[in-house]
Symmetry: none
Subunit: 215 residues, 4 copies
């Protein structure tokens, strides 16, 4: 039985253990490589070397450099959404859910610092559109990104309907919080000697105190 290239690509997502492993290995390496250099600066040779496979091998699992890049980010974004869901659900009330989301995401970002590099280096581009060939970035990344932002938005809306949170546009607030958290990782990278916990605390304080109804 024969498969076209496209079909093969799909098959790779199936559960064949060997192929899946190799695919994951390549994604791991790509994450590291793209974490160290810009999309345009990381060459396929770099990536192959990091992964420890031949250049051609990558093309057995991914259709192009772009596909590889999008896939690597996609995987991480899904994990982030999952982390966020778990954090949100374990919160006793809205404020607690927010607190847990903040810390869960911080932990995730720190544990995946290379992903953060990779992702946010490209993210400006995502937000700001234009880039033709990377245009389908939207299609590949948006679902997981929306899922994540929606979870935070929901937590805020819950707090608002309970009367605990100030009445600001929930989605805007959620995206603001998102930016605040990401920023901690940037700061951490800038000055590795400060404590990330402190920074997380600052975000938590400012955001929660800013949201809470003090009457």
């Amino acid at each position: 039985m024969r498969f076209t290239k496209a079909e093969k690509m799909v098959r790779n997502k199936s559960s064949n253990p060997q192929k899946t492993d190799r695919r994951e290995e390549i994604l791991d390496g790509a994450e590291r490589a793209f974490g160290r250099k810009h999309y345009h600066e990381a060459t396929m040779d770099d990536i192959a070397e990091v992964v420890g496979v031949g250049k051609g091998t990558i093309y057995l699992y991914f259709a192009s450099k772009e596909d590889l890049f999008l896939s690597a980010a996609e995987r991480k974004l899904s994990q982030l959404a999952e982390i966020t869901r778990a954090a949100s659900e374990s919160g006793s009330d809205a404020a607690d859910a927010i607190r847990r989301i903040v810390h869960a995401q911080l932990d995730f970002f720190v544990a995946n610092i290379e992903f953060v590099r990779m992702l946010f280096v490209q993210l400006g581009n995502f937000h700001l559109g234009e880039s033709q060939s990377l245009s389908d970035i939207r299609q590949r990344w948006l679902p997981a990104m929306l899922q994540t932002i929606n979870l935070t938005t929901s937590a805020i809306e819950r707090g608002q309907s309970e009367g605990a949170f100030r009445n600001v546009p929930a989605r805007d607030a959620a995206m603001t919080l998102d930016a605040m958290i990401r920023n901690c990782v940037f700061m951490q990278a800038l000055d590795p000697f400060t404590d990330l916990a402190t920074k997380g605390q600052v975000v938590e304080t400012i955001f929660l105190e800013g949201m809470l109804n003090h009457e």
Copy 2:
């Protein structure tokens, strides 16, 4: 008579008005070109076309593509620092200074949306280090960036010493605010139909209410 490349570059910083004008024109064009495409996606041909000069001409004023890019951003970052200083100084008290900074920066970003694209697309890289050839990004950008962040930090410290602001690490808070403001521009770019004023209001509310001492 001949000049080494270094000598030429120094000469270009001289005050010959014609040369200065042409240099500024090129920076304007670079800003637009880099605003539309990634550093690696914008070619020197693109830039020359946008500026309306020959490709070789750019090399009379800038040593390399990288130098051009760094210079264009440098100029804007200085303007941002200037704007921020004016806003901060015109504030009647700490909270007012913060409010003015938020809105001044938002206005500046909106008026220079292409710069924001250009800058923040590369910024992740800046924060997160590594990239060899762009390593001197630090040297070129850091002064103006520090100046800007220090102005916000000072305003916060003023509020804290007056007892109006909560006692969190001022610099971390300043950088958090910075991230919140930048994020507005991203959101604006994502959904151009929402009102930027609203988003600015959300940032102002969350940050100020979060910082204010409610006892």
Copy 3:
């Protein structure tokens, strides 16, 4: 036990019926594959897929892609020589032999259109030499090709010695006839709706009338 590559190749020429069958299958597939695409455009993957075997299997029977290609053509050229011999021998006189050769070859070409594609696409190269890696094309193909052309040449010489044919260099005439016949197949491919029989008739008429002594 291990064999060097050369030993393996020799073994493959042995008469083990199974191996021979598989070898023929692969040649059949190669013929189809090379008939559809240029030598350089048909990949070993293509061929393996057409044949319905694994890519590695081909290398059990042929030393390289080039060897496969040369072998496939070699086989067909031998068949063409055989067809031509039969046609020539069944002719009652020289003119009749020529007529039979023309039609036998046309029939063969039509029945093996993919071979014709394969062969004549490469043939310019053959005639015109140079191509290093394909240089031994000569050694592999020339025997059968000479055999074919010699049969036609003999028929013409017979006609000349009988006084029926005009006295032109027989070998040149034979090669000209060969080109005329091949050309029919090209024309047929160009315009599939015209009748090949007509074209064959044109060739027969022009060649025979041109050769016959009209005194």
Copy 4:
């Protein structure tokens, strides 16, 4: 003033002497390079070396390797059509026109042996279709090829309407003659010591005697 790439390509066809010269130089080199090796075997490096320019320079004048190849052949085919027209028009009667066409084309082919190699190596492919990316070969080459074949066809039809030529399908006869002439060049390449004049004579004799009405 600025031009898009496509516009530049068109401009190159204009009469700017420098650009035209360089373009012609490249075509000359391409002709030699493609004459020595198959389209797929001649690399852009080869061609650049033969021409004596940098690899990138070729791309200033031609959009791709394919474009270069098609352009080189196009140029020659136009010259062949022109040669053929002149020969046909200078013929005193139909038979004479044919004779002149035969010898003019032979001379042209001999003088442009590398073109013949280039062209006919690819021509099988042309006639026999398929090759996707080279599909527009048709559009680029057909006009000049049709022009050439139509000239020969006309000469034959003239002879038929004058009653001098046998009544066979004129176009088929023309294409047959074409194949006969091309074949001389092949033979010449095979055995460089034979006289091409003799071969031309054989073609002329067989074709004309075959076409002439002997009643």
